[in-house]
Assembly symmetry: C2
Homo-oligomer: 207 residues x 2
């Protein structure tokens, strides 16, 4: 072991930076933070945006209840403190993906402005975009794919957002998608267009 | 809102799978779990492997103390339970990256076989590789870039692995790199060669 090697061994700085990744990828690592009532279409929309991005050659990744609540955050419940910690960890995980040059999409109710603001605060300006999935409670409740609203109305689920727990609408989201007025494809297209306008992804090649 | 759209909205399955990503990328999302004594060179080696992978066109990402302990896991200390939870969360985060088609490198002391086995259990067979960064305690202590061994010997740091807390050597690691006998570049090359042999990355083009 030479002295020079030994010096190398002590060096912990990343040799590949976010900027290196972005230069090669041709798009930026950012976080799209989808928020909205239960059944407002957050997770479905996030996956549709991911599909379009993949077709455009961009790596993205969806963090949602399916891969977070059952795994990274499986030791958290739904108390106010646990909800807060849930959102904090999701924010940090999304930050890691953005740093890795991936477009992270998070799909959580995240009902409190304060928690969303804290997630935003983890990121540099221009790297975090709040996407309000706007949908009337009536429409969400009609959809109710998992029957959760029904159970909440019967009192079987406590502290259910929209029924027995508050949802604070975003004060100044970067994007508002009206999932009760536009199709899934239209909502996804709106987000993709925003990413193009912000210079986060390249414009689609004209045919 | 048409009935067809409404049906779409309820669909939560990923539209882009790990297999889709891997097919396009030409390499597989896996976890390289580096373990070893403090100052055995885990983090430096992980970053060097990442540098080589990036030069070969592969996306990888290093999870280490710098980006995990101060962020995702900043609410954890060094008690046995907290160390266990630290390793659990790192395992889950690495799993997300592998699912996203990224080669995740983790660089944590992770001194207990049981914890490493639990991290392994989160992954499908062939997706998790334990890399033992083997280095004598003497050499680690001579390196001591942050002066931590010195402080541990003076009793200023309690439960310091190698001094006052145990390190359990891996029972059957996929890779053993001897960081006290080989240079940083040689150790990185050994890992890269292993990834080629396992078909996780493509062989380097012959010049």
């Amino acid at each position: 072991m030479t002295e020079s090697n030994s010096k190398n061994i002590t060096w912990h700085k990343p040799l590949v930076t976010q900027a290196d990744r972005e230069r090669r990828n041709g798009y930026n690592g950012v976080v799209l933070w989808l928020t909205g009532l239960p059944s407002s279409g957050k997770s479905t929309l996030a996956h549709e945006v991911e599909r379009v991005l993949f077709a455009r050659g961009c790596n993205s990744y969806v963090l949602d209840g399916d891969n977070i609540r059952h795994r990274l955050n499986k030791n958290l419940g739904f108390s106010p403190e646990d909800r807060k910690e849930n959102i904090r960890r999701v924010g940090e995980a999304a930050n890691l993906f953005a740093d890795a040059g991936v477009i992270a999409l998070t799909a959580f109710i995240s009902p409190y402005q304060e928690d969303r603001d804290q997630a935003r605060a983890l990121h540099e300006p221009g790297r975090f975009f709040e996407v309000f999935c706007k949908c009337t409670l009536d429409v969400c409740e009609q959809r109710d794919p998992k029957g959760l609203y029904r159970r909440a109305r019967k009192g079987e689920l406590k502290e259910f957002t929209g029924v027995s727990a508050p949802y604070e609408e975003p004060k100044s989201p970067e994007i508002i998608v009206e999932t009760d007025r536009h199709s899934l494809e239209e909502c996804a297209e709106q987000i993709i267009r925003y990413l193009e306008e912000q210079g986060i992804i390249q414009p689609a090649p004209t045919p």
